[in-house]
Amino acid sequence: MNTVILRTVAPPITALMLVFSVFVLLRGHNEPGGGFIGGLIAASALAIYGIAHGVAAVRLAIRFHPMAIAGFGLLLATLSGFVSIFAGVPFMTGLWIYPSLFGVEVPLATVISFDIGVYFVVVGAIAGIALTLEGREED
């Protein structure tokens, strides 16, 4: 599978897919998409890059261990749930704020950070599995 064509197109495709995955993640609240799908897209992007350029290149590119990324995601999601404690409402209640950035009102919510957490868990876990399976040179 390690052809010249794949190796040439893999970096731009990976980059595109990663950007797309963030797009899908962020639009998920109102349009089809969300953290789970975004995470799957990003994981496939990493898998493609791994197939083309080897596992070591991917591990270098993402800097952190995939499981650390997944763990961070779970932490973020859990903390998003706990924010509601400070507002005196039950666990996991969505809370919204509307700060104004450069004159544009940006809605931010604990559900968004929760969804980002989901995204990271999925990316980390799936990429972790895929990379370990790909990384045959390690054993």
């Binding site: 899908v24 998920g28 109102n30 998409g33 799957l40 763990g71 749930g81 799936i126 895929a130």
Partner: protein, 787 residues
């Protein structure tokens, strides 16, 4: 009052706080750190002492804090004569034990850890006796079992210590479960979850049809904890623990938890035929068995351990006897026993520490070398033997006073009590006199008086036994009377004094002493007799425990072999057969098969195209010559289905389906290369047909299930709900995503945790190096079974 409540709470947690500091204190100050640590229990002791006048006037102090108000759970305590006496014993003797451990374990590399465990236990035991709520009582009960496990197994490098620790944990832990069940019964029978409210239920428990069940369950907890026959065997084995543990846990406090429970329940569950048969019977048997076993031993600690067992039997017998004064006798004896037995254990440890041996046959003539120890031992033994002036004498007088009635039952138990007491008298003096009198015997270490830290504790306890006897009026006013009243459930006055009253009890005391002296003088012959008797009986429950554990291991190995054969094919086959059966059997049995669907007429051309594409994919899977092709072909089918989802408006679902299909093909292909399977399928025809049959059955099952599900009337309540509220409440237009991250966010949190754990498990599995032998796993299990 608020101050007092907060102070009591602090006192309950002080030992635990000190436990956390113990390793640091010992590390910084060495053995002298024990002085610092002893301040914690000493402070608690003084606090409880200040509560004594209130309790002595008949008040009961309750206090606490709401814990989980919605479940009606509270962290609350209940101090009356019974629990306060226990609290004083625990903190008072505890203070001395901490000091004693400072000397006994001096220079031990793990002294900090040891004191940490001791103080943790103290916190647990204190919690147990002051607990008001049932659940809190249970939690503390289990905590004492766990800390006891840690302490018995302190010398974890010795196998005997490990076995003893595990045995104690198993026996008392099982008892703890029984206790929990019993407490739940009590709660259901009365609707009360607090001990302080239990006294108001009158005869509700006794008249309940579940009385006997609840009683047996509670006795299961009490008897295992207090080492009653036939659960006594863990107690002597627990002597593997360092001596301070034996003195504190296994004589003065923890083993009395069962007796405490029985005394606590006596006002509401006592005075029934079952209570008055079971308790005296098992108590009496334990008393006799304990003394006979004690006579046989020559090890100081084991002799004391078996007499502790005997004393516990005596306490249980008295608690359940039901005659007037029996409860008073139990209260007196419990306090007296804690004082003299704690002291004697510490003396045994002291002798062991200074002479290097605790075998009575190898000890003698120590009175010159260790005069203070000798004095403490003698005073404690006199109290244990029940000689006048000592507190033990009062207890024994009261026992005989309670038992000396004319009827057959009283006479029977009187004989048991006199016999048991006489043998205990003999053992007491064998422990306290034999090592000190007679000619000097060479000991492994040069014998000399122990350090102050070590003789201070036993000397003080022994002296207390004397003063409590002489100033009995004070002791009765503040300790015995309130405690006996709490156990009896009505105001009771204890007024026995050291002035001998001519009468039956005194006569029986004299008989006991004479008998005891006779046995002491002929102790070698008595020992030989006991050995012969026990040999005639054969193996005891200790051996039975080993057999039970080994049997359990064998059983679980056998079950594991059947349930977990270790071949993926078998797991998959079983899973899918069960799936097919679950889907097919109920609809057929209950006649719930779906109606035949009508042939759809309005299917559009491009919809047909994708259905055909899916079928082509399946066909390709079946026709594929190698596995990789089959996997990729399966992807064709998956994509076609995803497109169909899209056509019917389920954008999110279809989106996910695409990604899942892609990734599963990639991962499956990667797994294939990992496993280094042969590229083609080599199953024989029979196997192939069998597997195909399972697959087709599953497929039919799912089809029928889906048809049935869609044929039912569609309830659009949820659709309405989410469409209405998604935008308004959760500010999102994509209902699917809003459900995932908001309405049912906690579910998602659980799901992503599963994803993460799956990832970790896969990583761990891949990294496992293949074992050199194929049968490595069963062999490891077998080794586990043998050890």
């Amino acid at each position: 009052m608020a101050d007092q409540t907060a102070l009591t709470l602090l006192c309950l947690f002080l030992p635990v706080l000190a436990a956390l500091l113990a390793p640091m204190a010992i590390g910084r100050f060495g053995a002298a750190g024990s002085w610092l640590l002893a301040l914690a229990p000493a402070f608690s002791f003084v606090h409880f002492l200040t509560l004594l006048p209130q309790i002595a006037d008949g008040a009961a102090i309750t206090g606490g804090y709401a814990w989980v108000p919605s479940l009606n759970l509270s962290f609350s305590w209940f101090l009356d004569g019974l629990s306060l006496t226990f609290a004083l014993l625990i903190t008072g003797i505890g203070t001395l034990i901490v000091l004693y451990s400072g000397g006994y374990m001096k220079g031990h590399p793990q002294q900090g850890r040891f004191l940490c465990f001791i103080l943790l236990f103290m916190g647990a035991m204190l919690g147990l006796v002051v607990s008001d709520s049932f659940l809190m009582l249970f939690v503390y009960w289990e905590l004492t079992s766990i800390t006891s496990f840690l302490l018995i197994g302190f010398d974890h490098e010795r196998e005997a210590a490990r076995r003893a620790a595990l045995q104690a944990l198993v026996v008392t832990g099982l008892g703890g479960l029984s206790l929990l069940a019993g407490l739940i019964f009590l709660w259901n029978m009365t609707g009360v979850t607090q001990l302080s409210l239990l006294v108001n239920v009158d005869d509700m428990l006794r008249e309940s049809p579940f009385y006997l069940t609840a009683l047996l369950l509670l006795l299961g907890g009490a008897f295992t904890k207090s080492a009653q026959f036939p659960f006594h065997f863990w107690l002597p084995n627990a002597m593997e623990a360092p001596t301070p543990v034996s003195a504190y846990l296994h004589s003065a406090t923890m083993v009395k938890a069962g007796v405490y429970l029985l005394m606590r329940l006596n006002p509401v569950m006592g005075e029934t035929p079952a209570w008055e048969i079971l308790l005296p019977f098992f108590g009496g048997v334990t008393l006799i068995a304990g003394t006979v076993l004690a006579i046989r031993q020559t090890d100081l600690k084991l002799m004391l351990a078996y007499t502790t067992m005997a004393s516990l039997g005596l306490l249980v017998m008295l608690t359940g006897f039901g005659a007037p004064h029996a409860v008073e006798a139990a209260a007196l004896y419990l306090v007296a026993h804690s004082l003299f037995k704690g002291a004697l254990f510490m003396v045994a440890g002291l002798i062991d520490h200074e002479c290097g041996s605790r075998d009575v046959a190898q000890l003698g003539g120590l009175r010159k070398a260790m005069p203070i120890t000798f004095g403490a031992a003698l005073a404690a033994a006199l109290s244990m033997g029940g000689l006048p002036l000592f507190f033990g004498f009062l207890a024994k007088e009261e026992i005989y006073y309670a038992l000396a009635h004319g009827d057959l039952r009283s006479i029977l138990f009187l004989v048991v009590a006199v016999g048991g007491n006489a043998l205990m008298f003999a053992v007491a003096f064998a422990v306290a006199l034999k090592p000190f009198l007679g000619p000097k015997v060479e000991t492994p270490k040069h014998a000399h008086e122990g350090p102050f830290l070590m003789w201070f504790g036993p000397a003080l306890l022994a002296a207390l036994g004397l003063f409590a006897g002489i100033f009995s009026a004070v002791a009765h006013r503040f300790v015995s009377t309130p405690m006996a009243s709490a156990v009896a459930g009505q105001p009771t006055v204890v007024d026995i004094s050291t002035v001998p009253h001519i009468g039956m009890p005194l006569l029986l005391s004299i008989v006991t002493i004479v008998l005891g002296l006779l046995v002491y003088l002929q102790i070698d012959r008595a020992r030989a007799l006991a050995v012969r008797l026990l040999e005639a009986i054969g193996s005891g429950p200790d051996r039975g425990f080993d057999h039970a554990v080994a049997g359990l291991v064998r059983l679980s190995v056998a079950v594991t072999r059947i349930v977990q054969p270790g071949r993926l094919e078998i797991y998959l086959t079983v899973s899918f057969i069960l799936l097919a059966l679950t889907l097919l059997v109920p609809p057929i049995v209950y006649g719930e098969l779906p109606d035949m669907p009508s042939w759809p007429s309005d299917v559009l051309f491009h919809e047909w195209a994708f259905v055909i594409l899916a079928l082509l994919g399946l066909f390709a899977v079946l026709r594929a010559s190698d596995r990789l092709t089959a996997i990729v072909s399966l992807g064709i089918q998956g994509f076609a289905v995803a497109v169909i989802f899209l056509l019917f408006g389920a954008a999110d679902l279809s989106f996910t389906q695409f990604m899942v299909e892609t990734l599963s093909v990639v991962i499956l292909a990667l797994v294939m290369t990992r496993l280094r399977l042969s590229p083609t399928d080599h199953r024989p025809l029979g196997q192939l047909l069998f597997d195909a049959a399972i697959a087709i059955a599953c497929g039919i099952g799912f089809t029928l299930f889906l048809l049935k599900a869609t044929q039912g009337p569609f309830n659009d309540y949820l659709t309405q709900f989410f469409n209405t509220y998604s935008k308004v409440v959760a500010h999102g237009a994509n209902v699917v995503n809003v459900i995932i991250v908001d309405f049912r966010g906690t579910d998602t949190l659980g799901e992503i945790s599963v994803v993460l754990i799956t990832g970790l498990a896969v990583l761990a599995l891949i990294r496992v190096k293949a074992k050199p032998r194929a049968d490595a796993v069963p062999a490891a299990v077998e080794e586990g079974a043998k050890s």
